[in-house]
């Protein structure tokens, strides 16, 4: 899959890759801390000083393999991780000369070199094992889980309802951070290990799950979150009221959507910002983020907020949409009311403060619901607040047949968190299966798999 010329022009790299000389100069700034805080802060615990040192010492392949050993999606993580609050945020140089090492760009440099050289993933064990694991969803959590298991010799199959793998990496990350084709190239390495992918195969019902339970020794739930929360106001069913994730997926993997002159984005999380920036880049001259609370409470990272301001996105604080007005030509405006925030953070509409924000499109990004229909079909898998309850160290759920990780467990975090969950679950599954080797032959007996 190639990036279209238009998308390439409108969404150039936000953080351009290092030239080799610059990478080496940057790598040489690294102090090589012991028990480095960057490594500790990384959810996948990439050995950062080690891979950076290998760049400095002209061992690019070793550098990439160091990254991949900890994080099989090291390439996409180098582009999408909010490193300000992770590795780079933890860099001791903040307290030295205020210039943390550019870890993400160095990681991308190593990974780009690896991909350019046609690198392939290695196995962690040469043993070939008969046990089969189904990973449901082809997002980062399942990919990491499947890769870990396959590298240890297990048979892993990934089920994905969409036509492409990668989950949000392919469909949901702003193109100036991670183009869809880069996500797909990275997943090719996992396929190269021998992981099987079944696309456009949605696992939805209890019958689907029972079928999988018969065929597979363990099931890994890496299904992410479900439908986006709707605005729930009159007029929200208009065709120009769009779910932010669908909007992003469409411009990334289909033809770029037509964007109106003026766009209102509801919500102030990272997805809202990605959508607002995309609307700007796709041609909207007036894009405003409307948020019911203040600047201090927005859930987007500070650097994302700064970026959006540079993109020309406007912010309206303490406003709540109440109605979307449209006529036969389309949406005319969104009616909002101003919000007062009380002592305990309780929001209250200010009577008589209603106003109309003129726009022709409304994009909403106010969160996603859990995939309750599927999750509650997993018999014996305990849920809490719509999230799967797991042992964080192993990904094990209350049903020994099931493991889980990623957004369906953590409520919606970053790619790297999903990778870490998936990898821990992969290790957890491998440990269980090694203690009690088996092949499922008797159908429908998940309890028998209890180790």
């Amino acid at each position: 899959m190639q990036q279209s010329k238009e998308i390439a022009e409108r969404f150039p790299d936000l953080h351009p890759p290092f030239e080799a000389q610059a990478a080496i100069a940057e790598a040489n700034r690294c102090l090589n801390c012991f028990d480095a805080p960057c490594t500790g802060a990384c959810p996948t615990h990439i050995d950062v000083p080690r891979f950076i040192g290998k760049i400095a010492r002209d061992n690019l392949r070793g550098s990439a393999l160091t990254i991949l050993d900890a994080n099989v999606l090291g390439a996409s993580c180098s582009r999408v991780c909010p490193v300000d609050v992770l590795c780079e945020g933890a860099c001791v140089l903040h307290r030295y000369n205020k210039k943390p090492i550019e870890i993400a760009r160095l990681q991308r440099f190593a990974m780009d070199g690896f991909h350019a050289a046609g690198g392939t993933l290695g196995r962690k064990s040469r043993e070939e094992r008969p046990e089969k694991i189904a990973c449901i969803g082809a997002g980062p959590a399942s990919l990491a889980c499947a890769a870990e298991l396959r590298q240890c010799g297990f048979q892993a199959t990934v089920f994905e309802r969409r036509p492409l793998p990668g989950g949000l990496n392919t469909y949901g990350v702003a193109e100036y951070k991670l183009p869809a084709h880069a996500s797909l190239e990275e997943i090719e390495l996992i396929r190269g290990l021998g992981v099987e992918f079944r696309y456009e195969t949605e696992i939805r019902t209890q019958e689907d799950l029972v079928t999988l339970e018969r065929e597979f020794d363990r099931l890994f739930l890496g299904v992410g979150l479900g439908a986006a929360h709707r605005l729930g106001i009159p007029g929200d069913d208009h065709r120009d009221v769009i779910d932010a994730l669908q909007f992003i997926a469409r411009y990334k993997t289909a033809d770029p959507p037509a964007v109106a002159e003026s766009v209102a984005v509801i919500g102030a999380g990272n997805t809202a910002i990605d959508a607002a920036n995309a609307a700007r880049r796709l041609g909207a001259s007036n894009v405003a983020i409307l948020y019911r609370r203040g600047e201090r409470h927005m859930s987007a990272f500070a650097f994302e907020y700064e970026h959006a301001k540079q993109e020309g996105v406007q912010f309206q604080w303490r406003v709540m949409p109440v109605k979307i007005d449209s006529d036969e030509r389309g949406i005319c405006s969104i009616e909002c009311v101003r919000v007062a925030i009380g002592e305990n953070g309780v929001l209250a509409a200010v009577p008589g403060s209603n106003f109309h924000f003129a726009c022709q499109q409304v994009i909403y990004a106010i969160g996603q619901s859990p995939l309750l229909e599927l999750l509650s079909a997993c018999r014996g898998v305990e849920l809490s607040h719509g999230r799967v309850v797991v042992n964080r160290a192993t990904g094990a759920t209350s049903n020994p047949k099931y493991f889980a990780g990623g957004d369906c467990v953590n409520g919606g975090r970053e790619v790297v968190d999903a990778v870490a969950d998936g990898k821990r679950a992969g290790i957890g599954i491998a440990q269980v299966l090694k203690v009690a080797p088996q092949r499922t032959s008797s159908p429908g007996a998940p309890e028998a798999a209890h180790a």
């Binding site: 801390c33 012991f34 028990d35 970053e414």
Partner: protein, 471 residues
């Protein structure tokens, strides 16, 4: 406004506006270069060695880079001047005429015959050279022909040729010493016996700088082969300082010394002067950055002299010579321990791992878990520290899910190491690896013991020196 110090020198009778001379090397290959160097501020120049013209090879140089910095060490296989002798002599005369206040030294190397040396001495002095530097140090090429270090490695030859030169010379004679010898003082003494007025130290060190890992050919590559060269640049400074100190403190060999070896800054120059050098010579740094570097050498030296209250070079020359002694005269009762300034500590833990793996296992990461006193076995070892981090579950902090962090950026207490002062041997290692200036300092602790050296202790019969065993 303090009085501007005078940095002019009178070195063995040779006058120069400052102590910064160019060493005999490519930067002093011809008159045009040397005149530009004098314009830039260099006080003197030792002409690229003249003698019978030679033929050079290409390539000629190679270097060692370190941590992204180029030319930490530099190596050459270039020979002496490849220009006709009469051209060099004519240009010496021209430079001297146009720059009478700058020192122009002729570096000489001819075959080991008395008449040859007499001839070249006369030619150089007739051209107007202020002094003569005898190149007994060149370690490559010329040595295979019985010249350069082939002379400088044999005290008898050094003494003999120096004496031949002195028979003829009316200007000061400087013998350039090779470091490629087990005791440089032996040659310095020979030069002194031969009548030398001064020595310059050190010449380049025999070296192979590295190998191309694709072709397997060492550098520099001359059509598929290499040859050992002469090593110089910042990497050799400590070796040069030691050899200068040895010569300066040797009563039988002490002569005015021209310091050479890795000098690139005013600080380097001050160190050589503190060990007794009257002037210094620079080559590699100029080959790297050009003549312009002398500006800060003069400026930095002058500012330092103002700060320290030195009116002239002689005020501080040699002040560090008596501060170097033999190990047996060091005070065994002196004790220092490492002190970590936790306000400055950035938490890199380089001191911790250096102490555990490279020193004496007395820095601990137990500020949070509480100090454990006692034997080393009770402390968590580095592999366990790392393993705990790898096994920890870290997540991206998301304000919506996790609430707001404190936003503080102070070094966490758990990452600030603690020195067990009762175990610390005061080796300095932690303070050397610490990237933060003045974060780890070595603090003297009173032991109550009277000062005592190994020499005193053995003299008092408290210890018997162990018998020397051959391995």
């Amino acid at each position: 406004m303090p009085k501007q110090p005078d940095i002019a020198v009178n070195f063995a009778g040779i006058h120069s506006p400052n102590p910064f001379w160019l060493a005999s090397a490519p930067p002093t290959n011809c008159g045009e270069q040397i005149m530009r160097a004098f314009d830039a501020g260099w006080g003197g120049a030792v002409w690229k060695t003249i003698g019978e013209p030679i033929v050079n090879v290409s390539s000629r140089y190679s270097s060692i880079d370190w941590n992204g910095q180029r030319m930490m060490g530099f190596n050459n296989i270039e020979l002496i001047s490849d220009r006709p002798l009469e051209v060099n002599l004519r240009e010496i005369a021209e430079v001297k005429k146009r720059y009478p206040k700058n020192a122009v030294i002729a570096s000489l190397m001819v075959e080991s015959k008395r008449e040859s040396w007499h001839t070249i001495v006369a030619q150089a002095e007739d051209a107007g050279a202020d002094g003569l530097e005898l190149n007994f140090g060149c370690p490559h090429g010329m040595s295979e022909r019985g010249m350069g270090s082939a002379v400088g490695q044999v005290p008898e030859y050094t003494e003999m040729i120096t004496a031949w030169v002195k028979e003829k010379a009316s200007t000061p004679v400087i013998v350039k010493l090779t470091p490629n010898i087990s005791d440089i003082r032996v040659i310095a003494r020979a030069a002194k016996r031969g009548g030398a007025d001064a020595v310059s130290a050190i010449n380049t060190i025999n070296s192979i700088t590295g190998i191309d890992l694709d072709t397997l050919i060492p550098r520099p590559n001359v059509d598929g082969k290499s040859s050992h060269g002469g090593y110089c640049g910042p990497a050799v400074k400590p070796i040069a300082l030691n050899m200068v100190q040895q010569v300066a403190s040797d009563p039988e060999g002490a002569l005015p010394i021209l310091g050479i070896g890795g000098i690139a800054t005013w600080k380097d120059a001050v160190e050589f002067i503190l060990l007794g050098c009257g002037t210094v010579q620079v080559c590699t740094a100029v080959m790297h950055y050009g003549y312009r570097i002398v500006e800060d050498m003069i400026d930095g030296l002058t500012n330092w002299m103002v700060e320290k209250g030195f009116a002239g070079i002689e005020d501080f020359r040699g002040l560090s010579v008596p501060k170097v002694t033999e190990w047996k005269h060091l005070n065994l009762s002196y004790k220092i321990v490492a002190h970590i300034d936790e306000a400055k500590c950035i938490g890199c833990e380089l001191c911790y791992i250096a102490c555990w793996d490279g020193a004496h296992q007395c820095i601990y990461l137990d500020r949070v878990s509480g100090p454990i006193d006692g034997p080393v076995d009770l402390h968590t070892k580095p592999p366990a520290v790392e393993a705990a981090t790898r096994a920890s579950i870290a997540v991206t902090p998301i304000p919506k899910l996790d609430g707001r962090g404190d936003g503080g950026n102070a070094t966490p207490l758990a990452r600030i190491p603690r020195v067990d002062e009762t175990e610390c041997v005061g080796c300095n290692l932690c303070s050397l690896v610490c990237p933060v200036e003045h974060c780890i300092t070595m603090v003297e602790v009173a032991t109550g013991a009277k000062p005592e050296t190994w020499a005193e202790r053995t003299a008092a019969g408290e210890c018997t020196p162990p018998a020397v065993t051959q391995h």
